[in-house]
């Protein structure tokens, strides 16, 4: 058999998998977002807007906040790993910070649910240490709980990427800055972070997309309204068997994540053109 024919044949099984299990379901849910019992149209989107506009804004806000915090913490962790002067604390941090990576979201949610409750472990500890008064203990099981869980769970992932990039930097620049008397914070922010910006953006973009799709954490932690888009999608399907509005919410999620992906791609191509120039 000639080589040219072999290529497509070898690719075919993988391509079929992608089409069958990714392209087809995606297209199906996109299309059915426009179908309601009244026929084709925007009915599902109108309903999604009427009922869930607060939830959509809420989702974007808490996930943007979580992403920002993840960025701050992962830079701090990566920075300490590169610039830390006490080898023992660096070793301990290096060993510790990855742990949440191996814990699934649903388990993290379950742990936080008892940890952050009004009379939960966190408040009990603070009261026990006489840091707060029992009456001033508040439950963190609302949007704050989601943000805490997301940040706790996603920071190691971004920190892993960022720390790796930081470790592979040319240390001579750091040494030079240090010789000139720059503080460690200044070295981190002005020398290191700009050089690892690409890894940081990849990590944060992936985190944003991951957090957009998490259902277990909002379900377990956030009892209030508004809640996240995912929780509402689950509710539409489970309570009403209504795939139309659920798919419309899905389309809205895709648009939001595509927006972030577009920002990321634009950034990446800008970096590339700058590198060429």
């Amino acid at each position: 058999m000639n080589q040219r024919a072999l290529g497509p044949i070898l690719v075919a099984p993988a391509l079929a998998m992608v089409v069958l299990f990714f392209v087809y379901p995606l297209a199906y849910s996109l299309i059915s977002a426009f179908w309601s019992p009244e026929g084709w149209g925007w009915a599902n989107f109108i309903k999604a807007y009427e009922l869930y506009r607060n939830d959509i804004v809420f989702t974007v806000l808490i996930i943007a906040l979580s992403t920002a915090l993840v960025g701050v913490f992962s830079i701090a962790i990566g920075g300490y790993l590169v610039l830390g002067e006490n080898p023992r604390s660096v070793a301990i941090l290096k060993w510790l910070y990855r742990w949440p990576l191996f814990i699934p979201f649903v388990v993290a949610g379950q742990v936080m649910r008892t940890f952050l409750a009004k009379n939960g472990m966190l408040n009990n500890t603070l009261v026990g240490l006489e840091l707060i008064e029992p009456v001033s203990a508040v439950s963190l099981l609302d949007w704050r709980g989601i943000v805490i869980t997301f940040v706790w769970k996603q920071t190691p992932f971004v920190a892993l990427l960022v720390a790796g990039a930081m470790a592979s930097l040319d240390r001579s620049m750091i040494e030079a800055a240090r010789n000139l008397g720059a503080s460690r914070l200044r070295i981190l922010l002005e020398i290191i972070v700009p050089q690892v910006r690409a890894s940081l953006t990849v990590g944060l973009t992936l985190s944003f997309v991951t957090m957009m799709s998490v259902l277990s954490v909002p379900l377990m932690i956030n009892a209030q309204t508004p809640t996240t888009i995912t929780a509402n999608m689950a509710f539409r399907i489970n309570s009403y068997g209504d795939y139309g509005v659920a798919n419309a919410l899905g389309v809205i999620s895709i648009l939001l994540t595509s927006g972030v992906a577009w920002l990321y791609l634009r950034q990446a191509s800008k970096d590339k053109s700058r590198a060429i120039a």
């Binding site: 009427e50 009922l51 869930y52 506009r53 607060n54 939830d55 649910r113 008892t114 409750a117 009004k118 009379n119 939960g120 439950s139 099981l141 379900l219 377990m220 932690i221 956030n222 009892a223 209030q224 309204t225 508004p226 809640t227 929780a231 509402n232 689950a234 509710f235 399907i237 489970n238 309570s239 009403y240 068997g241």
Partner: protein
């Protein structure tokens, strides 16, 4: 042989042995919490296997709440649409809400007349599920009821009506907790009870027929607006279990719960034993879980036998009432005779049979049910 090989050989031999013994498998799919799967795996399954040598009961849990029933519906629906000659579910345990749809979509067998326990269940719920006639297609497994659980150390005089509850919540802000409508059925039930108390025509909500005008009526909107106001004084809890957890940690003093869950948590030592229940007037909903047999169940005769055993007075007494603290599915009088007085009394300490008869309501019929949930969503979306 290496240890791993020995282990593998052992597993293989065990698998062979079990297939040699168990020729037929009865697949039981059940919606609901883990305790439903436990009930079949730990109690009913082994009992059935003992009485029918050569069979193996395999329980499959599809998840809590209506979501679990929805999955069973989708599984049967998919097999019906693909014209499968025999379906892979022989007996299903489903919630009330989906049952009407299962019957109207012709996914179930009319099996009830074929079993000898058919006449033991005569309550309304064995004839209609939320207004849809299901007579012949279902046998109730058990009845479940929601009620208000409270901490008697904090609440000396528990409210006995919704009116008193509203007053109490106003005087004790954030001490009443419930899980909204997206965190499980105990919260949904509280909202439905609210509509019976303050909304239009509670009878019509429960029995139908559906009238879209009612959902736009003044009384409807008034009840919803009041509920929104009431929500300002409450704490929202994460789920059915979340309400019990918060009650137990002293974060709330009162909240709606499922009676059976309340009792089983107490029995397991997960709940402060002093907690009590109160069924408030005019009433709160409860619901049966149904045993159904799919229209093309592969083992339909065995399935009927299984349901007959499951709804026999002995099993209802020992399994449903004694072990799991559920209210029996078949009529109580058939079950009471099989139990000692103390066990029977335990089930009715806080909520008396009289309370159940007068304040135990059914959920609204399907379209009203959805309309109430959606109105609630609309209210909370526009705050």
């Amino acid at each position: 042989m290496k240890p791993a090989q020995i282990l593998l050989a052992g597993v293989f031999a065990a698998a062979l042995a079990s297939t040699a013994q168990a020729q037929t498998t009865l697949n039981v799919a059940t919606a609901g919490d883990q305790n439903m799967v436990d009930y079949i795996n730990d109690y009913l399954g082994p009992l059935f296997e003992k009485q029918n040598p050569g069979t193996k009961v395999r329980a499959l849990g599809t998840g809590p709440g209506d979501a679990g029933s929805q999955k069973i519906f989708e599984r049967l629906d998919a097999q019906a649409k693909s014209n499968a000659p025999a379906w892979d579910v022989d007996v299903a345990v489903v919630h009330e809400k989906i049952t009407g749809k299962l019957v109207t979509d012709k996914l179930l067998a009319n099996y009830r007349s074929g079993i000898q326990t058919a006449n033991l269940a005569t309550r309304d719920s064995s004839k209609a599920a939320l207004g849809t006639p299901v007579d012949g297609y279902v046998m109730p497994m058990f009845h479940s009821q929601t009620a208000i659980a409270y901490n008697p150390d904090i609440v000396k005089n528990p409210p006995s009506t919704y009116d008193e509850l509203v007053d109490w919540a106003k005087k004790n802000p954030k001490q009443f907790g419930y899980n909204g409508i997206k965190g499980g059925m105990s919260g949904v039930s509280f909202v439905m009870g609210w509509m019976y108390a303050y909304g239009p025509d509670a009878k019509k909500l429960q029995n139908g027929p559906f009238d879209a005008e009612l959902t736009k009526s003044k009384a409807w909107n008034y009840a919803m607006a009041n509920l929104k106001e009431f929500n300002k004084n409450v704490t929202f809890t994460p789920g059915n279990a979340g309400t019990l957890d918060m009650l137990n940690r002293g974060e709330i003093a009162m909240g709606p719960v499922w009676v059976d869950m309340f009792y089983s948590w107490k029995a397991e030592g997960r709940l402060n034993p002093s907690m009590k229940l109160k069924l408030v007037g005019p009433g709160m909903p409860g619901q049966p879980m149904y045993y159904v047999v799919p229209a093309k169940a592969a083992q339909s005769d065995l399935a009927k036998k299984f349901v007959a055993l499951a709804t026999s007075p002995e099993v209802q007494a020992e399994g449903i009432v004694k072990r799991f603290s559920w209210y029996p599915g078949i009529d109580a009088k058939h079950v009471q005779a099989k139990l000692d007085g103390a066990t029977w009394q335990k089930l009715f300490t806080d909520v008396t049979p009289d309370d159940l008869a007068t304040k135990g309501k059914s959920f609204p019929v399907g379209p009203y049910f959805d309309a109430i949930l959606e109105s609630y969503e609309r209210q909370t979306a526009t705050n």
